[in-house]
Symmetry: C2
C-alpha cells in the first residue's frame, strides 16, 4: 500500500504531496516504469521530503478510543473493531466516461465517490470507521485535486471517519474506494432477512436523480432552479448512515437504492425467497418531480430511476412506531410503500389495481 497523493493546505498554500510512488519518479527513471515499482525511490535524510509533509500535515493521530489504530504511513493500516463487533467492508470503482462525465465538478465527484460507499454501509446498519482511496489520475491538476479532496473529506468529516491509506498512480481517471464500518455481531441488515408480512419502507424521496439526469441529457425540459435542486440529489447524494444504524434492531432486510427501487428490491426478494407488492401511489416524491412531471413519469423515475441512495428496508408491522421513531431520531423521512408477500413482485395503485410498471429485464449473459 502506498500513501495517497495528498493536496495539503498549509500556511504556504497548496502543497501536492506524492510520497514516492512511481509516477513522480518516472521522470528520473532510465527504464520505462512498466511495473508497479521503479528503482529510483530516494532516501535523503537531509531533505524535507513528501514523507515529512505527510507526517507533518496529513498523518493525524487517531482519536483516543478510535477503532483506527494505525493510519497512513505503513504497509497496512490497522483497525480494531470493538469486541462483539464485526467489520463491514464495501468497495466501488468509478471510471471517468462510465460512471461520471469527463468534466464533472471535482468536489461533487469527491463527495459522491465516498457517499456511494457509505451508502453500502448504511444499508447494513454499520457505523463508518474509515476508508482507503486508490486514485488513478491522468495528470496533476491542483485545482481539481483541491476540489476533489475537499468534497470527499468534508463528507468524511461529517461522519467522523479517516482516510487510512491508499494508492496513487498515473492513468485514466479512476477512483476506487474501500470503506469499513463496524456493527454489533449478528445485527447487520442483510438482504436475505425479509419475511412475508413485513412492511416495505423507503427513506427520503425517489426519482430526483433520474429527473436531473434526464434534464441534463435534454430528454425533458426543467427550469434552471428546479434542475439545480434535482442535480444536487444526483451529484451529492446523502448516505443514510444514521437511519441504517437506528434500524439495527427494528428492520429485517435492507438495501440501498442505487440501481432503481424495483431492481434493488429484487435483490432482497431473491435472497429472502419472498415477493412484494408496492403501492405506487404511496411512493415519496420531491415537490419538483411532483410539480413538473406527469404521474406516469413520477412512477417510472421512482421505481426504475436509480442513483437515489435511499434505503429500502423491510420491518415487521409491529415495528411501525419504532421505524418512525428511528426515522425521527436520524432526521430522515421514511415512507411505508408496500408489503413483503410470499412471492412475485406487483406494483399497484392506492386501490390495489395492478399497474403495468415493471422493471426491464436484461440479458444476463450479454457481453460488456
Amino acid at each position: 500500500m502506498r500513501l495517497s497523493l495528498i493536496l495539503l493546505h498549509t500556511a504556504k498554500g497548496l502543497i501536492l504531496s506524492d510520497p514516492g510512488h512511481f509516477p513522480v519518479r518516472e521522470y528520473r527513471c532510465t527504464l520505462t516504469c512498466y511495473t508497479q515499482t521503479c528503482s529510483l525511490i530516494g532516501y535523503n535524510p537531509g531533505m524535507l521530503s513528501e514523507f515529512d509533509l505527510i507526517a507533518r500535515y496529513f498523518t493525524r493521530t487517531p482519536r483516543a478510543g478510535s477503532a483506527v489504530k494505525l493510519g497512513v504511513g505503513d504497509d497496512c493500516a490497522l483497525i480494531a473493531p470493538r469486541a462483539g463487533y464485526e467489520l463491514a467492508i464495501s468497495t466501488d470503482m468509478l471510471v471517468e466516461g462510465r460512471h461520471f462525465f469527463a468534466g464533472t465538478e471535482a468536489g461533487a465527484l469527491g463527495h459522491k465517490s465516498l457517499a456511494v460507499n457509505l451508502s453500502d454501509l448504511a444499508a447494513m446498519g454499520a457505523q463508518p470507521l474509515g476508508f482507503t482511496l486508490a486514485l488513478s489520475l491522468p495528470a496533476i491538476d491542483e485545482a481539481w485535486l483541491a476540489d476533489f479532496s475537499h468534497g470527499m473529506l468534508a463528507l468524511a468529516d461529517k461522519h467522523d471517519i479517516a482516510l487510512i491509506g491508499g494508492d496513487t498512480t498515473k492513468g485514466p481517471l479512476t477512483i476506487c474506494i474501500t470503506v469499513f464500518g463496524e456493527i454489533p455481531s449478528g445485527k447487520a441488515l442483510r438482504r436475505d432477512a425479509a419475511i412475508a408480512g413485513d412492511d416495505l419502507w423507503v427513506s427520503g424521496t425517489l426519482g430526483d436523480a433520474r429527473l436531473a439526469l434526464a434534464a441534463l441529457q435534454n430528454t425533458l425540459a426543467l427550469d434552471a432552479a428546479s434542475l439545480a435542486i434535482a442535480a444536487e440529489r444526483l451529484h451529492r447524494p446523502t448516505p443514510r448512515v444514521a437511519l441504517g444504524m437506528a434500524l439495527r434492531d427494528i428492520a429485517h432486510a435492507a438495501i440501498d437504492v442505487s440501481d432503481g427501487l424495483l431492481g434493488d428490491l429484487g435483490h432482497i426478494l431473491k435472497r429472502s425467497h419472498v415477493g412484494a407488492v408496492i403501492n405506487a401511489d404511496a411512493l415519496p416524491y420531491d415537490a419538483i418531480l411532483l410539480a413538473t412531471q406527469p404521474g406516469e413519469t413520477q412512477h417510472e423515475f421512482a421505481l426504475n430511476g436509480g442513483d437515489d441512495y435511499e434505503l429500502c428496508f423491510t420491518a415487521p408491522t409491529s415495528h411501525r412506531d419504532a421505524v418512525q421513531a428511528a426515522a425521527l431520531a436520524s432526521s430522515t423521512v421514511v415512507t411505508r410503500i408496500g408489503s413483503i408477500t410470499a412471492a412475485g413482485l406487483q406494483v399497484t395503485d392506492a386501490n390495489g389495481k395492478t399497474l403495468a410498471i415493471t422493471p426491464n429485464s436484461f440479458d444476463h449473459f450479454s457481453k460488456i
Copy 2:
C-alpha cells in the same frame, strides 16, 4: 458494492456471470449510462439469472471458524477478527500500460495483483483473511478472464483466503485489490520500530525481477532459460506471508521490498529515526544473477532493483537464532545484510569500505 464479474467453470463450460452491474445492462438502456447506476436491472423470478449462478457456484459458505462472516452477495462483506486481534488493511491499484504491459499474461497478472497486496500484509506480520477486487475491463475476453481468475484464485487458495466482494465495470484495464489480514493487537511489524544496534535482514534473493526486466527491455542479454527463471520472479512474486507471521515476536521493524531495497529501507530509517549500514557483499543473489552479471550490476540490481517482494526487517542481535528458526519454520531463506545505526545510510563491502552505490533521489514535487 457490487458483485464481481465471475468466470465460472461449470458442466456446460465457461459461464461469464455479471450480477447486474451496468455494463451488462447498458445495451438495453435507452439512456447513456454515465452514472454508477442504470435503471434497468431486472427482477425476473422465473429465470435462472447470474444471481443464481453466483449463489450456486461462487458464493462459498465461509469455513467454520473463519473470520469471514458474510462474503459476496450483500451490500457489504462482514469480517470478524478474533478478540484481541487487529485488522490490517492494504490497497493497491494496477493500471495497464503503467504497472504492466498490455498483453501481459493474464494468469501472471492475476497472481501478481494479489501477491503485491499479500506482501503488504506479510510486511506487517498479518495473517491474510480475504480480499475485495474492483476490476475495470475494456471488454470481456473469456480466455483472459479464465487465466486471470485462475492465477489470482490459485494464490488465494494457497493462503486459504476468500474473495469477499468487489465491483466490476467497463473501462481501461485497471485492477484494484484491497486485502485484509489479522494480527494480535500490538504485534504488527511497523516501519517505525527499528532500533539502533538491530541486525538488518532480508528474505530470499534480490535483483532477479530487475534482471528479468532489463532482459525483457533488451538492455542486457540473457539466455532464454535464465530469462524464464528470472521472469518468473518478476511476474509471479512470492509474498512472504509465513515468514512475516513467524517474525511477530522476533523482529522489530519490517517492510516489503517493492521499490528497491535502499528506497524501502529508507522508509524504515525515516520513520524509526535511525540509520543503517549494508554490507553489499552479504546481499543474497540468485545463481543466475551471480553467473551472468558483473559484481557492480549485481549490487545495483539488488539495492535499487525493485519488484522483489522480499521482506526487509530488523531484529535485535540477541534474536539471531530465533530469526533463523522463524525462517526455517516458514521455509524461507533469510540473510543478515547489515545493521541499524544511529543515522545515515551506508553501503560497504565486506571489509567495511564504503561503496559509491546510493539510491537515486527524485524531485518530491514533480508533477505526474
